[in-house]
């Protein structure tokens, strides 16, 4: 893992948390959508908060796919799950919600899960089926033609 790869994982984390917060804020403004008025969910994207949220989720999509190009899905997903912790802190400082003891335990569990998975190899399955743990930097450059 290089610094660049860690930065990509950090960007995934931040974009996911900020994007989801913005979406939630927008959807609160719009209110309940019933199944009978389902098409109105499509027009939800014209809400500025939702639109800004989508922008962040696009950033998430690009960085997430970049990470998936050199790491396992079962690595990227846990490694970027600190976004839920970030989400809780955004709620704490922007919405002034209290973080209960239960939530602190949740934050602790997530953080230890992240610590657990990032200690291990980032890639265990390649297109060639080879074990490429030892040389993650060369992954994907072997089969150019």
């Amino acid at each position: 893992m290089t610094l660049r790869k860690y930065l990509v994982l950090v960007s995934v984390t931040i974009c996911a948390a900020v994007g989801e917060t913005l979406l939630a804020r927008g959807m609160k403004q719009i209110g309940n959508i019933s199944l009978r008025h389902l098409p109105s969910v499509i027009f939800a994207v014209t809400n500025p908060w939702v639109a800004l949220g989508i922008l962040f989720l696009l950033g998430f999509f690009v960085t997430y796919n970049t990470a998936l190009s050199w790491a396992d899905l079962t690595y990227v997903l846990p490694a970027t799950s600190l976004s839920y912790v970030l989400l809780a802190f955004i709620a704490r400082f922007m919405l002034h919600e209290q973080i209960s003891a239960t939530r602190w335990i949740g934050i602790l569990l997530i953080s230890s899960g992240v610590g657990f998975v990032t200690q291990g190899p980032a890639l265990t399955a390649g297109p060639e089926g080879a074990n490429v743990d030892a040389a993650p930097e060369t992954v994907g450059t072997g089969n150019k033609s």
Binding site: N32, I33, P78, I107, I110
Partner: protein, 126 residues
């Protein structure tokens, strides 16, 4: 009705985002490390290789379904319930699906991590 809509949305989010994640991971693994690939043969070639894979677009459709299911769900219930519930379940379904379809080595370390995080996400929601 609210409970039904909420959990229906959560179920749809889990199924659609697992499908999307698996397809995206599959496509990106075929392309390989985008950074070194782009350095070798140019950014546009890499982009063409990604966009030239039809599975990429199937993945996008699956993720779009998950996204709209999320919006629908958010209109019925709090993000603090739907986000964590869908995410916690997706961690487990993704670990299973990645093992089956992507042949990733989901060892004990990754299972523990997935379960710790799923548990933590649930606690955040209470």
């Amino acid at each position: 009705m609210k409970v039904l809509y909420t959990w229906g949305a959560i179920l749809l989010i889990v199924l659609a985002s697992t499908t999307g994640d698996i397809l995206m991971s599959h496509v990106m693994k075929q392309v390989g490390d985008v950074h070194s690939a782009a350095r070798q043969c140019g950014f546009l070639t890499v982009l063409r290789r990604i966009l030239g894979n039809p599975l990429f677009f199937v993945g996008i459709v699956a993720l779009a379904v998950a996204f709209y299911a999320l919006l629908f769900g958010l209109s019925w219930n709090d993000v603090s319930l739907i986000g964590p519930a869908a995410a916690a379940l997706t961690f487990v379904t993704n670990a299973i699906a990645a093992k089956i379809f992507l042949h990733e080595r989901v060892d004990r370390r990754r299972w523990i991590a997935a379960l710790l995080i799923a548990g933590g996400v649930v606690l955040l929601a209470v």
